[in-house]
Amino acid sequence: MTTEVDETVTNDPEIQLVTFRLKDETYGINVMQVQEVLRVAEIAPVPGAPHYVLGIINLRGNVVTVIDTRVRFGLPSAEIDDLSRIIVIESEAQVVGILVDSVAEVVDLNASEIDSAPNVGNEESSRYIQGVASRDSNLLIVVDLNKLLSDEEWAEMSMF
């Protein structure tokens, strides 16, 4: 009995995703990579930074680079409003913030519920997309944060 349960967990692990909105879509990222969610305060621009870097913030004495997720995903930019949030994530041993339109909820999914969807989104964003899952008749796009930036770009993140 115990073995069967273990096998189910191993073969189809449950994952928790933090979901957020960008334009008209809902995206999900692994909760284990999320450190905290912040309201948007002062973001200082950095001269010479790549176009997808919005700037830097002071997070309790640490300098954290903030990525404009819309720009990175090839979506049109939007004004920051009361619902906008910075999700502080850890990926590739770097701590960065990603600016999103709003944060929705935390959902539980089994890995088997995520379908690979190579053709979702435009070319720019498709490489970060791990797959899609159907939730309450809505589509949830699961993002692979580690692929959000290239190795070089991740290394650069720590040096702003």
Binding site: V46, P47, G48, I57, N58, M159, F160
Partner: protein, 255 residues
């Protein structure tokens, strides 16, 4: 190094004392990298009795020996304390010491304990420039002579203290993504100040904000500076770039 993660030997030393001892050890390890020679000890001994002039070499050697033994003894104690810390704390402290060493080795030569800086505004972005790298600051109200066939960062030549100085468009060099005006337009609509940085070069800025005195730990130093080598760090509190004008001049020369 022997690690004793499960060592349960009761000790009276408090955690704070342990940490202090460990930091002493790490500090001494860091210093070992560049010191090792007894020169500094000799120097300090000499400074204590600058006028005696009669101390024999044997006496100096003996003092040095005593000093070294004391340091060794202290270091041995610190190693013992370090070895009794939990493994994860040992690893954290080693990682911290390694990081500090990397930062120390990457600092520009002009960095001292305190770094007096001038804060300026360039295209709405605040920049900190070490005062030690500046040889003059002036309001830019002189007649500016535009020069033909110059790169777009060349804003013209002004006379400053009897010399001809080329004004460099700082924004064009370090934040071209912010510039929407053409070179000619920027030459005509200039304002603000210029900061003399080289033999005959000065950086343009829109306004002088203030001067600040920074401590080393108030800056998040960039250890590797392959890209944007002129950005040596970020002022943590103000979130602005600390600009190394020497590196910027190198980029100008390359261009």
């Amino acid at each position: 190094m022997q690690r004793q993660a499960d060592n349960k030997t009761p000790r009276e030393t408090s955690l704070v004392e342990s940490e202090e001892a460990v930091f002493d050890l790490l500090e001494s390890l860091l210093q070992e990298v560049e010191e090792k020679s007894p020169t500094s000890v000799e120097t300090s001994l000499k400074q204590e009795e600058p006028q005696s002039g009669q101390k024999t070499e044997e006496k100096v050697a003996a003092d040095t020996q005593v000093q070294s033994e004391l340091q060794m003894e202290q270091q041995t104690d610190n190693v013992k304390i370090f070895e009794q810390l939990p493994l994860d704390m040992q690893e954290r402290l080693i990682a911290q010491a390694t990081e500090e060493l990397k930062i120390k080795n990457s600092l520009p030569a002009w960095v001292e304990h305190t770094i007096p800086c001038l804060l300026v505004d360039v295209e709405g972005i605040e920049l900190a420039i070490p005062l030690i790298l500046l040889s003059g600051i002036s309001a830019w109200d002189q007649e500016t002579l535009p020069m033909p066939t110059q790169p777009d960062w060349h804003l013209g030549v002004v006379e400053y203290r009897g010399e001809n100085i080329v004004i460099v468009d700082t924004a064009r060099l370090i934040m071209p993504e912010k510039i929407t005006q053409g070179a000619e337009e920027r030459r005509e609509n200039h304002a603000g100040h210029f900061l003399r940085v080289g033999q005959n070069l000065a950086l343009s800025c829109d306004a002088i904000i203030e001067t600040v005195s920074l401590k080393q730990d108030e800056v998040r130093w960039r250890i590797t500076r392959k890209a944007r080598s002129w950005a040596v760090g970020i002022l943590i509190e103000r979130l602005c770039v600390l600009l190394d004008t020497e590196e910027l001049l190198k980029e100008i020369n390359v261009n």
